[in-house]
């Protein structure tokens, strides 16, 4: 069973603010899922190489050419930057990263 402190710590790492009610239900749900997952400990994996992907492809390259349809103009600017909640011209506005002391 995860502790309340652990649940709050995970939420903070995941950058999700959770309410007290959510904390309670997440604690229950995550703990029961983790308990189920722990059955993997029954499997002897000594000397087994992990399988991260199934295609066997290593190092896929393509030519480093600009995509024709992505020419930077006002239209593309609107499509991309225009979707940011706060923007100015071609820039996305964020809240200050460094705070004054």
């Amino acid at each position: 069973m995860l502790t309340d402190k652990e649940v709050r710590h995970i939420a903070e790492l995941a950058r999700i603010k959770i309410s007290a009610k959510e904390e309670k239900s997440l604690k229950k749900d995550l703990s029961s899922i983790l308990e189920y997952i722990n059955k993997l400990n029954e499997v002897d994996t000594t000397g087994v190489e992990p399988l991260y992907q199934t295609t066997g492809l290593v190092g896929s390259f393509r030519d480093d050419e600009p995509r024709g349809e992505f020419k930077m103009d006002e239209n593309l600017n609107e499509k991309l930057i225009g979707q940011a909640p706060h923007s100015q011209n071609r820039f996305i506005k964020v809240k200050s990263v460094l705070s004054h002391k």
Partner: protein
């Protein structure tokens, strides 16, 4: 009920002049307007026939003028893609997904975007922020998920075919529950460029269709290497319809004994065994096999998926696009509150689970362990495919359940995918085809056929032969 159109029907209708592409599009649009309210299969519909078709009306492409539905986690330029989440409520796609581009080139038209569990996380479509989709066979039941909107739209003839995405069964399981054909191609066969990522090492786009021939046709159109998805493989692409008619006499069919254990409903077991005997009648050799690590597939999956989810969904931060909290005063609070307000319960669960599994001190115990068990599961399948040509069994442990029946217990919903997740973990191609209705529930049952890596041809051929045999009876 009116006749449900297949791709061939559309082709025939167009060639014989029974209707034009515009007319058939309008016919479907009108039908959606009338019937979508009760099903909630579509989240958005396009008013006019997409004019971007790059083909002439006399084109010979089988898919020309065929009205389709697209799961709302794939991008169609200039239209909203929500991924079933509030966080992307107003997000407008900046480009076409590769599959969309390819369908356009074939002359396919798009009716609209279909409902899904939020970010494709779920097995019932009840996790959608826009309300659940209902099963057209019984409106009190779920359509399966996460491509539930696509499956319901095909089953109710609100489109000719649909695209879904399958990370752990999200095409096959809803196909099974709605009585349609759902194919998950081999990982690397179809480009994921423009598919909103859930678990990148498992996600694969596949067609939901009314029959096996249509499935092969759509796969023909959407597959192939793509420079914008480095996991697509450089392989020549066969015509998947070519060998459908070849008989399957002598073909070796593996039946894993582990698929028939505890948890499989009696009415499903009955139909699956009946279907296996049909394969035998068609001259296939039925061989019992074993996949010793099958019971660990779901636990493996629920480490790998949340881990990849926690990474993939980090991009939704309230800064560049999507929902941004109005109350946040600082940068950190913008992240915390935008994500808190924008994500539903299941994405939050998975993001947190994955964050935990990948966090310092737990990586070896969870993520690494899971990838090692994944290797063992792959080896089980590799060994089996030395003895057999395809592996068959149920798609899901039971037929469509009631809306609300399982929603309070995430783990019980996860169990829905018990027969489908091993196929994603191993990257293999798998299909679900309808094999009759349950004697108790009366609801459709899906028969799953799994093939060797990149051997969709055999998977489709077995499916086609079975489909023909079943329609003869």
């Amino acid at each position: 009920m009116e006749k449900s159109f297949t791709i061939r029907d559309i082709r025939d209708g167009l060639t014989k002049g029974h209707f034009t592409a515009e007319e058939i599009f309008k016919k479907y649009s009108d039908k959606i307007k009338k019937e979508n309210k009760k099903l909630n299969a579509y989240l958005s519909v396009f008013d006019q026939r997409d004019t971007n078709i790059q083909m002439h009306t006399n084109d010979t492409n089988m898919l020309f003028g065929v009205p389709s539905a697209i799961k709302d986690n794939m991008l169609i330029e200039g239209t909203i893609a929500t991924a079933g989440s509030k966080i992307l409520k107003n997000y407008i796609s900046a480009y076409d997904a590769t599959v969309i581009k390819k369908l356009r080139q074939s002359g396919v038209s798009f009716l609209g975007k279909t409902n899904l569990d939020e970010f494709a996380m779920g097995t019932s479509t009840e996790n959608s922020a826009y309300g659940p989709t209902k099963n057209p066979h019984d409106l009190t039941r779920v359509p399966g998920g996460s491509s539930g909107g696509s499956a319901a739209a095909v089953a109710a003839d609100l489109c000719v075919f649909a695209l879904g995405s399958d990370t752990g069964g999200s095409v096959r399981q809803p196909a099974s529950m709605c009585g349609v054909v759902g194919l998950k191609p081999t990982y690397g066969r179809v480009s994921r460029h423009g598919l909103i990522a859930m678990a990148s090492s498992l996600d694969q786009i596949g067609p939901l269709t009314k029959n096996v021939y249509d499935s092969a046709l759509v796969l023909n159109a959407i597959c192939g290497q793509d420079v914008f998805d480095s996991t697509t493989v450089p392989r020549t692409v066969p015509d998947f319809t070519k060998d459908l008619n070849k008989e399957i006499k002598g073909l070796k069919v593996g039946v894993p004994k582990e698929f028939f254990g505890e948890g499989l409903d009696k009415e499903v077991k009955e139909k699956i065994e009946e279907t296996i005997s049909k394969l035998k009648n068609l001259g296939a050799e039925i061989i019992e096999i074993s996949l010793p690590n099958f019971e660990y597939a779901l636990a493996t999956y629920y480490i790998i998926v949340p881990s990849e989810v926690s990474s993939n969904l980090a991009r939704f931060d309230g800064i560049r696009y999507g929902h941004s909290s109005k109350d946040a005063k600082t940068l950190l609070n913008t992240y915390l509150e935008s994500r808190s307000e924008g994500f539903g319960a299941e994405p939050k669960r998975r993001i947190m689970l994955g964050t935990y599994a990948l966090s310092s001190g737990y990586y070896d115990a969870y993520y690494l362990k899971a990838q090692k068990v994944r290797a063992l599961i792959k080896k089980d399948f590799d060994d089996a495919f030395k003895k057999v040509d395809v592996i068959v069994g149920p798609t899901a442990p039971h037929t469509a359940f009631k809306l609300g029946e399982k929603i309070s217990d995430p783990l019980s919903l996860y169990m829905e995918d018990i027969y489908t997740v091993p196929v994603n973990l191993t990257g293999l191609p798998g299909i679900s085809i309808p094999c009759g209705n349950g004697t108790i529930s009366g609801m459709p049952i899906g028969f799953q056929i799994i093939g060797r890596s990149f051997d969709e041809e055999t998977v489709l051929r077995v499916s086609y032969q079975l489909e023909q045999a079943m329609s003869d009876n």
